[in-house]
């Protein structure tokens, strides 16, 4: 499992770099799950939301699952006001819940042989 914990405000360039690093590390580390912790982000605007959604889809195409954790209450409200969604991307309250969710998803998947 790969945990990407964002520590400070990210520029558009940083977000794109995060996508590239995560996608390549899934291969090198053979990770089956990715947790992206955005608790430190005070703003998730349209670009950030779209990029995180893109990361989750790219991760999926690389054969792994993503859970986004730690979206702050004010950030969640702002996303709703902006009409932004993460669509089918899984979310959890915090890192602990996210890891638990990912473990459940991965064990269900391996039982199904998927």
């Amino acid at each position: 499992m790969l945990i990407a914990s964002i520590q400070s405000a990210l520029s558009d360039h940083d977000l794109v770099q995060l996508r590239e690093e995560l996608t390549s590390r899934i291969g090198s580390l053979r990770a089956r799950g990715v947790v992206i912790d955005v608790a430190a982000l005070d703003v998730l605007d349209s670009f950030a939301t779209r990029t995180i959604r893109g990361i989750a889809y790219t991760v999926k195409l690389r054969g792994a699952e993503t859970v986004v954790v730690g979206i702050q209450p004010a950030v969640a409200y702002s996303m709703v006001q902006l009409g932004l969604t993460l669509e089918s991307v899984a979310t959890a309250l915090d890192l602990e819940e996210g890891i638990a969710l990912l473990n459940r998803t991965l064990s269900t998947r391996s039982r199904r042989g998927g």
Partner: protein, 133 residues
């Protein structure tokens, strides 16, 4: 009263600076945490529009006061290509660039007042305000 702040917008790092300055001013003005976030997000959307379409511009963040109400004003000015039809640009989902077309209508929803002044070849000025509740 908190002082006016100016941020030059020319590259994506400036978007982060602008929204951080916006939050600083929002805190100084006494906005709630939620409103601070809405203001910072609106600034982020507008600053990105400048980087994407005009390449260069400036944002002025200032405290405003009206009939005893405290507020914050953001004026974003660029000398970019301008917007052909502001009414169309304000429609959610409309975009001539690589964005989702959420920028302008999104920022309007997050703020209390929003004015767009633009003409082709003359650039764009966006003025938006939010009042402390």
């Amino acid at each position: 009263m908190a002082a006016e702040m100016r941020v030059v917008i020319a590259r994506d790092g400036d978007i982060v600076t602008a929204r951080q300055k916006g939050r600083e001013l929002a805190i100084a003005r006494g906005f709630s945490t939620t409103d601070q976030t809405l203001i910072a997000t609106a600034i982020s959307e507008i600053a990105r529009n400048i980087v994407e379409y005009a390449e260069h511009g400036e944002m002025v963040l200032s405290p405003v006061e009206l009939n005893g109400r405290r507020g914050l004003m953001v004026v974003a000015v660029d000398q970019g290509p301008g917007i052909e039809d502001p009414n169309v640009a304000m429609r959610a989902g409309y975009s001539t660039g690589k964005s989702l077309g959420m920028g302008l209508p999104g920022a309007k929803r997050l703020m209390d007042e929003f004015e767009l002044d633009s003409a082709v070849g003359r650039g764009t000025t966006i003025t938006m305000k939010k009042w402390v509740r």
